[in-house]
């Protein structure tokens, strides 16, 4: 009887800190654990007792990569609790802000985190020496995404302009329209990116996913919609906690989210969004989705890089549409009165669905907060996929096996800082 343990103690090119432990018996997978050992940061408890106006700025601090997502889910949930309906102009401006975050996050992941795996490089730095022009293209798209965040959010990191009821200040038309020429260049760059990554060699690997994302009758999902699944369900966001449940697991400081009634794992993120919302993609993004030769929805997690390319196109195309027609919202922020109540909202962070729920008192203080980040939802699915992937990835070369496992994990762009919070792989063959 042969046992083998493979441990990647520091999984690289993911956000946050964690490890991967794999135990094999006679080369059969006995145990797989995505070990998240960063200490929990207890943001939900930090919010209790605070004024609701502080919530968007505090939750933005959960993640330096996707602060907008935390701001968006929090303001929408608080607005639901207060009974506020935002104006169409504010709504469009929020979508524009979200486009900026998708752009900077996806461009970073495609070019510096994930593409090196497909091209056989150890890092984005090594890849840049062989593909400098490609990396410059990716970094330029990322830069312009950040510029949009700066104009709309007040600054590129931890934007400060988002308020319950709208924005503290509506950006000037000139400041936004100045971005148009660069965004036109970026749209073409995103098309080239998608064609480039679609030409990579993808492992022959497929999972039977239950895909979960928001869906909206009129638009590609970002700020609102119903929660839909590849099983054909359509769930009101208000019923999210009836259908999805977070559970503690011994090996992770992050909670694991599963389907409440069945205990099934599920997948959120770009692969789920593209797969479930193909018809809502912008015209160029839809054309490229058809052109790349992938049958959507796909069960191959390695296709995630193509889905991100398609969403880059969508984000630039939608951003351009909003930028060209932009008129400042008047007023930029709606007034409201405090009421005792509760509200929830889900938006689509770059890595997938992000759910927030708040209860507030009649003085506008937070009584209760619940935040379910995308990586917590994907973690059980990543472990399930590794169980399927390891027999295919396994070799006598421990370093190669570890690398193959890391390659798969990076496809989900896990943000461990959000889910509590990096990655180190241990394979046990004792």
């Amino acid at each position: 009887m042969t046992e083998r343990t493979i441990k990647v103690t520091a999984l690289t090119r993911v956000e946050g800190e964690g490890g991967l432990y794999i135990k094999l018996r006679e080369n059969a997978v006995e145990d797989v654990r995505l070990e998240i050992y960063e200490p929990p940061r207890l943001f939900e408890a930090l919010l209790c007792g605070r004024q609701l106006e502080d919530v968007p700025d505090i939750t933005a601090r959960i993640c330096g990569i996707c602060p907008v997502a935390y701001q968006m889910s929090s303001v929408h949930a608080l607005e639901a609790a207060l009974g506020i309906t935002i104006s169409p102009e504010i709504r469009r401006l929020r979508r524009l802000l979200y486009c900026g975050e998708w752009i900077e996050s996806h461009a970073l992941h495609v070019y510096l985190l994930n593409a090196p795996d497909f091209l056989g490089f150890e890092s984005g730095l090594e890849m840049a020496e062989s593909f400098p022009e490609a990396v410059k293209r990716g970094l330029r798209m990322k830069k312009h995404g950040n510029q949009l965040l700066e104009v709309l959010g007040g600054r590129a990191i931890h934007p400060i302009n988002v308020a319950v009821g709208g924005f503290y200040r509506a950006p000037r038309r000139d400041d936004l329209q100045r971005l148009i020429p660069d965004f036109e260049w970026c749209l073409q760059a995103a098309v080239e990116t998608t064609r480039w990554v679609a030409g990579f060699q993808f492992p022959d690997f497929s999972c039977d996913y239950q895909l979960v994302s928001l869906a909206h009758d009129d638009e590609y999902p970002m700020n609102e919609g119903r929660v839909v699944t590849s099983a054909g369900e359509s769930i009101a966001v208000d019923d999210y906690e009836e259908e999805f449940e977070e559970r503690h697991v011994e090996h992770s400081t992050a909670l694991h989210s599963l389907r409440k009634k069945t205990g099934d794992t599920y997948l959120v993120g770009p692969l789920a969004r593209v797969g479930l919302n193909l018809d809502q993609l912008s015209p160029t993004a839809r054309r490229l989705a058809d052109e790349v030769g992938i049958a959507w929805p796909t069960g191959n997690p390695f296709h995630g890089i193509v889905a991100r390319g398609i969403e880059l196109i969508h984000a630039f195309e939608e951003a351009l549409s909003i930028l060209r027609d932009y008129q400042p919202a008047r007023p930029p922020r709606l007034d409201y009165s405090y009421v005792l109540g509760a509200g929830c909202a889900a938006t689509e962070a770059p890595r997938g669905l992000l759910y927030h729920r708040y209860a507030i008192d009649a003085d506008g203080r937070v009584l209760e907060a619940k935040i379910v980040p995308p990586t917590s939802q994907n973690q059980p699915q990543i472990e399930a996929d590794l169980r399927e992937w390891i027999p295919q990835a396994l070799s006598d070369d421990e370093a190669r096996t570890s690398r193959q496992c890391e390659n798969l994990v990076r496809c989900y762009d896990p943000c461990i800082s959000c889910s509590t919070h990096f990655l180190k792989v241990k394979i046990d063959r004792s």
């Binding site: 690289t12 090119r13 993911v14 956000e15 946050g16 200490p39 940061r41 207890l42 943001f43 930090l46 505090i58 601090r61 330096g64 990569i65 970073l108 510096l112 985190l113 890092s123 984005g124 730095l125 840049a128 020496e129 400098p132 990396v135 410059k136 970094l139 990322k142 830069k143 950040n146 510029q147 600054r155 590129a156 990191i157 931890h158 800082s417």
Partner: protein, 159 residues
């Protein structure tokens, strides 16, 4: 002050001693305002890559671990390989040294790069600064201003 185009970047987060880079940048922004010096805050070293076009001198301020006692401030002229041994907290493995190496590969690294580090202690979310780092920040601001005014390189360490 330098006549070349200079960028000062404080790298950090709102958490514990990791705030140091941001606070140093704020301190510098309030004290120096020449048109050819831009002061920014970043949450990840990778953001530097957005801002390097046309920059001749780059000054980076960041908290680090493994380079001395808590509150110890040091100045480094890049390349400084000893810095690679320090513990950096950049996201997605993009530490300051990794980003500067990437900028070099892409032909985007400014001619002069100076890195100021302050040794920090890991603390919890939204935690305040440790007293040692809080005490070090005003000194760090003044040393950086003096350094920018000087035409000759400073000493390599302040503690």
């Amino acid at each position: 002050m330098s006549s070349s185009r200079t960028l000062i970047v404080g790298i950090g987060s709102p958490h514990g001693d990791d705030q140091a880079g941001w606070l140093v940048a704020l301190g510098l922004a309030s004290e120096i305002r020449p048109r050819d010096i831009d002061v920014r805050q970043a949450s990840s070293p990778v953001q530097l890559l957005d801002w390097l076009s046309g920059i001749e001198q780059l000054v980076i301020c960041d908290a680090c671990r493994g380079l001395g006692g808590v509150g110890n401030v040091r100045r480094w002229d890049w390349p400084a390989r000893e810095l690679a041994d320090a513990e950096w907290s950049g996201t997605h493995d993009f530490s300051v040294p990794a980003v500067l190496d990437l900028a070099e590969s892409l032909g985007q690294r400014p001619r002069h790069v100076v890195i100021w580090t302050v040794e920090g202690n890991p603390r919890g979310a939204l935690a305040p600064l440790s007293p040692e780092v809080a005490d070090a920040i005003p000194n760090m601001v003044q040393w950086i201003i003096s350094d920018l005014r000087a035409t000759t390189p400073c000493t390599n360490s302040h503690s």
